[in-house]
């Protein structure tokens, strides 16, 4: 327990350092590029130039590894024995919620390593974007009913203008097609907060945009393409963790 306590303190301090780095102009973009691709791909790129963010990330990995080791020993020596000896629901819940936490972390790790992630891809109607495994996505058309001049504003200004009465996100959509080896796999529409799916591939619309140069009448879209094999499992285990923690609180609410 002592080791777990100090590891918790260490990881909190580590995240505080992350906050300071992410707030600085110098390292903000490093974290942004880290989020824009799979962490494993970012590591491959970053391994060439050793940056402070890379050192911070490797430190985080080390702390997470020690936490995992601590969990294994703690589960074996304490939680599991208590659960088996006492055979009470409180001990069982305590073990289960710790176990589920490790599962969630494992899915986090999986999402950093497996699949693919392409971010901030700008497409105008008729444009295509090719990515791994001979996949390509084509923006067939854009249906946009609101004032397009807002789309030329900076992000924060755009956010101020995109109120419910001025931006009707349910009415604005893009029609896209997904191909592999030039063979159509699926086509359909995507809206803000309503991504396009094909198996484990999600194509999400981040925002509508208008190129700064040129006189375009119809906007294009900025998209993310993500293949996350663990997303569903992650959310299910996350929900189970919440239920387990809530059950633990309920079963231990009354003072013994």
């Amino acid at each position: 327990m002592r080791f777990a306590f100090w590891l918790l303190i260490t990881i909190i301090i580590w995240f505080f350092m992350g906050v300071i780095l992410a707030k600085s102009d110098t390292y903000y973009n490093d974290f942004k590029s880290m989020s824009n691709m799979l962490t494993i791909d970012w590591l491959e790129n970053e391994a060439i130039n050793i940056s402070l963010v890379l050192i911070w990330f490797l430190g985080l990995c080390l702390i997470a590894f020690l936490l995992a080791i601590n969990f294994i020993f703690c589960s074996w020596n304490n939680l599991l024995k208590i659960s088996l000896n006492r055979k009470n629901i409180r001990a069982f819940l305590l073990l289960s919620l710790h176990f589920m936490f490790v599962i969630i972390m494992a899915f986090h790790l999986g999402a950093m390593i497996f699949g693919f992630k392409y971010s901030d891809i700008e497409l105008m109607p008729g444009d295509s974007y090719s990515f791994e495994n001979q996949y390509s996505v084509k923006l067939d058309s854009v249906h946009y009913t609101d004032d397009t001049s807002v789309l030329k504003l900076k992000f924060k200004e755009m956010r101020d203008h995109q109120t419910k009465d001025k931006f009707h996100y349910q009415d604005n959509y893009a029609r896209i097609s997904l191909y592999q080896n030039e063979e159509l796999l699926e086509d359909g529409i995507m809206k803000m907060l309503m991504p396009f799916h094909y198996e484990n591939i999600r194509i999400s619309m981040i925002q509508f945009y208008l190129p700064k140069k040129g006189n375009f009448q119809t906007p294009g879209v900025k998209i993310n393409i993500v293949k996350d094999l663990f997303a569903e499992a992650f959310f299910i285990s996350y929900a189970i963790e919440i239920v387990l923690l809530l059950s633990f609180v309920i079963f231990t609410w009354r003072k013994r």
Binding site: M1, R2, A4, F5, L8, I9, I11, I12, F15, F16, G18, V19, A22, K23, F31, M34, S35, H108, A111, K117, S119, R159, D160, Q162, T163, K164, D165, F167, H168, Y169, M192, L193, M194, P195, R202, I203, S204, I206, N224, I225, V226, D228, A231, F234, F235, Y238, A239, E241, I242, L245, L246, F248, V249, T252, W253, K255
Partner: protein
């Protein structure tokens, strides 16, 4: 209806909360027992008025969110205020925390944020609502931990208060996690992935990990109630500061 109504209601709430805190100082517990209701109604009205003025529940904006935090704090305080004078005294220090939060609102820009189009998405609403409910629970737990330091408190009564603080720390963590789940799903719908390496993600992780500290104290810190209480309440103090200042 415009922002002026919200500001007027805010100052009415502030005055009522101040009166309640004053009754605590003056030890007028029988008055306090009934006078909490106007404060409860006024702070509850801030949520309704926010909806009428801005078209959405308190979301993101501190002026409206903190008033909802105050409302939940008054609800929780009222639940544990009953006719037993001893129990009333044990919970009444919460009024100073409620007054502090309500006063802190003055430092914020006194207007609700605009009705951003995503604010009618269920997961966006849940993310912000769960977060502020959890903050109220953490502050309530903190108030109880600090209340346990009152002099001449019977050992059993102190144990009750500390257990209540422990319960609300954990319940706050559950609600906070439910909020993070909703936020994660919001990001998943918007960007296609459930989390980003960002300042917001690090702060959110820090706040959750801080809420877990009291449950992971080494055995040698568990023997004396004072050190245990200090070590359990300090993380909650940090969570509150992060929410009020950094977040």
């Amino acid at each position: 209806m415009d922002t002026t109504v919200l500001i007027i209601n805010y100052f009415i709430s502030l005055a009522l909360i101040f009166m309640n805190a004053l009754f605590v100082v003056l030890r007028k517990y029988s008055v306090l027992k009934w006078f909490k209701y106007p404060a409860l109604i006024s702070s509850g009205a801030s949520i309704v008025l926010t909806f009428l003025v801005a078209g959405h529940l308190p979301i993101y904006n501190k002026f409206t969110s903190l008033q909802e935090v105050v409302f939940i704090l008054i609800v929780l305080t009222s639940i544990y205020t009953n006719t037993n004078k001893v129990k009333v005294q044990n919970i009444n220090t919460m009024w100073f925390f409620i007054l502090f939060v309500q006063l802190y609102v003055i430092t914020q820009q006194m207007e609700p944020n605009n009705n951003y189009y995503m604010y009618d998405n269920l997961f966006v609403v849940l993310f912000f609502q769960f977060r502020l409910i959890s903050m109220a629970m953490f502050i309530f737990a903190l108030g109880n931990y600090i209340g346990a330091f009152k002099k001449h408190l019977h050992q059993d009564r102190r144990a009750d208060i500390l257990h209540r603080a422990r319960n609300y720390t954990l319940l706050g963590a559950v609600v906070y996690l439910a909020g993070e789940f909703s936020g994660s799903f919001w990001l998943y719908l918007w960007y296609g992935d459930s989390w980003h390496w960002s300042k917001g993600f690090f702060l959110a992780s820090i706040m959750f990990l801080l809420s877990m500290i009291s449950g992971h104290l080494p055995p040698r810190y568990l023997s004396g109630w004072k050190i245990k209480t200090i070590l359990s309440s300090s993380p909650l103090m940090l969570i509150t500061l992060i929410y009020l200042i950094a977040h």
